[in-house]
Symmetry: C2
DNA sequence: ATTAAGAATACAATCGATTGTATTTTTTTA
DNA sequence: TAAAAAAATACAATCGATTGTATTCTTAAT
């Protein structure tokens, strides 16, 4: 209740020995006899000693804490990535400070500052949609704090990244739409400031071209990919001259927005327009028709990013060379694209 | 790059003054002249000084950090609560350490220990499903760390809580089912170790009784309310002798599991069985038919919990009396319960 | 011009643990 | 048994900022 904070000095005094010996015993140093150690451990237990992590951190200038910056915690992909990060970090004895940029550049700068000031041992982050220049991202590196980018990265050469092969994911998704017989495929794209959306766009484009279809800019609808953006795009799609029969959305949320709008207008999915999303969020399996999408496995990404980061932290003096891990995407085929009869020759 | 860590002593040396003056200037103390302050600020800027938060924390024995423990970060309700917590905390100058108990008691005990050892200024938590005895929850209090429970609380008298009126929420939901003409309403309940599920159960029961319907234990299906639990319960429901025409689930996830199962068995929702959930998660609006549910507004809860906690932190010596905030639930009526013709007299 | 009052700054201890070096104690060897 | 080697423990500085007390420097009052 009161100020009953027991320090190593209290233990030392109680046993009439030096505090340095207590410290070493508590850290199980070989410089203390087993017998003494046991006396100290018993006394520490008895007195209810708890190491003051702050003092320890200051002395060792290590916090055993990782900083995480994501655009928005409540987005499923990010919350599942965080779950993976937290679990891996916890097992390795690290705490995790979590921050959200809310897609604001200013806030992102601020957060990096704060994490540096708090002397986190490393940072895992996914950049905001507003992030175009990367000067502030160097801040952590300059202070010797290793950083791993996941999902939304940027093209600074010496960076560590854990990414999905977004190009392949959207190539496959588009290819799948074509295989289902779609001739005119629209694309709901995200802000091109993010490489990720560039890659998804390129995958879409190349799949069209490689299948002998023309790429048409007027079938691309860029937005921030919120639910209402998807709905608005769907509205525009119905208004175009072209008979659009497929939509490849760069995320699930916009795809769902589009589907809801189309369903409201009695457009048959997939018969009239087939739809694919990207992320494999929890709603994609439940919506009707269920949404074909590309699995992004946030938890696995988080785990890999954390492992990579901890590896970098532990080898800091040796300056381990940076690494980029690229995960293989997998297409989850569901009803929203099932145009063809699966078994034509019964 | 190198060990270019500038301390207040470096600034002091550069200006040939004392480090205590530098410290005071940087904290804008009235004990330093404006002129001196400006010299110091300029120099600090010039030398790229950054306060060592660790040292400061140690001296002040305050970390400006809040600890958060939730069962699972990727559950929508919790991730949105965390979003609310993070935002409020950030504005007030606090960092947030986030941990997940994964519904394990052992891990929960561990995490509290860790947070206490890290000298967080306060804790916000939602207990795990395994938590039956509350001894470990006193740990933080004994160390003088104020704690606020949200959503999943426990009945220790002196606690701070931010809760939904779960009783009323489920009373209203059940009442709504009755108003729609349901005669035999089943309940998918959660572990009764959590007061929250007791309250939801009681609301259900009392609504039945107050409307003159009998409460029947055999219509209550308790589980951990995962999606498959909902599906299993639905299976059992179809197997009972009673003609069940309504389901009140204590959360959305199980409700959705049940709906998916019922849809697979060609049971018409709401005509044959009406369904309501609890939480208003993102999928509830998208599933077909859309799910009637009780809004739980995680973000608001998070915000309120944080404000309450910070209030408690700032008034610690005075021992502000504990507070319990109870939010009013609101029923979101959707298609899954729309049995009655809304306008019988056209 | 001298002293008291007040403002500005310097001194020094402190937060609690860690760690290189010095000293004491024990064990081994000649 | 004395000296050398090895083991165990004690001493003391340090991490960087904060803060109560002491000192110096201004300004005001007599």
């Amino acid at each position: 209740m009161q100020n009953n904070t027991i320090t190593i000095h209290d233990i030392a005094a109680a046993l009439k020995i030096d505090s340095s010996t207590v410290s070493r015993a508590l850290n199980n140093s070989p410089r203390v006899t087993q017998k003494t150690k046991e006396r100290i451990w018993a006394k520490a237990e008895e007195m209810g000693y708890q190491r003051n992590v702050l003092a320890s951190n200051l002395r060792k200038s290590k916090t055993n804490t990782l900083g995480i910056i994501v655009p928005r915690i409540s987005r499923y992909f990010f919350s599942s990535a965080i779950a993976g990060i937290e679990e891996t970090a916890f097992e390795a004895g690290y705490n995790v400070i979590i921050c959200q940029s809310l897609e604001k550049l200013e806030r992102e700068k601020n957060l990096i500052q704060t994490l540096v000031a708090n002397r986190v041992d490393g940072i895992i982050m996914s950049i905001s949609m507003e992030t175009m220049d990367y000067d502030h991202l160097e801040g952590a590196k300059k202070n010797g704090i290793p950083t791993v980018f996941f999902d939304r990265h940027c093209d600074i050469p010496g960076n560590n990244n854990v990414l999905l092969d977004d190009y392949k994911g959207s190539f496959d998704a588009t290819q799948h739409l074509i295989a289902q017989g779609c001739k005119n495929i629209a694309h709901l794209g995200g802000p091109k400031s993010l490489l990720l959306y560039q890659n998804r766009f390129n995958g879409y484009k190349d799949a069209l071209v490689q299948n002998g279809y023309p790429f048409r800019q007027e079938l691309v609808f860029d937005s921030r990919l919120m639910e209402k953006d998807g709905a608005e795009a769907a509205q525009k799609i119905l208004g175009t001259n072209t008979e659009i029969d497929g939509i490849f959305s760069a995320n699930d949320v916009a795809a769902i927005g589009a589907m809801q709008y189309l369903k409201g207008r009695n457009v048959k999915i997939p018969e009239e327009i087939a739809v694919t999303g990207f992320s494999n969020g929890p709603t994609s399996a439940v919506i009707e028709p269920s949404l074909t999408t590309v699995d992004q496995s946030g938890e696995k990404m988080g785990k890999l990013a954390t492992e990579l980061l901890i590896k970098q932290i532990n080898s800091k003096p040796k300056t381990l060379s940076p690494e980029t891990i690229i995960l293989e995407p997998s297409l989850i085929e569901r009803e929203s694209t099932r145009k063809k009869i699966t078994n034509p020759t019964k």
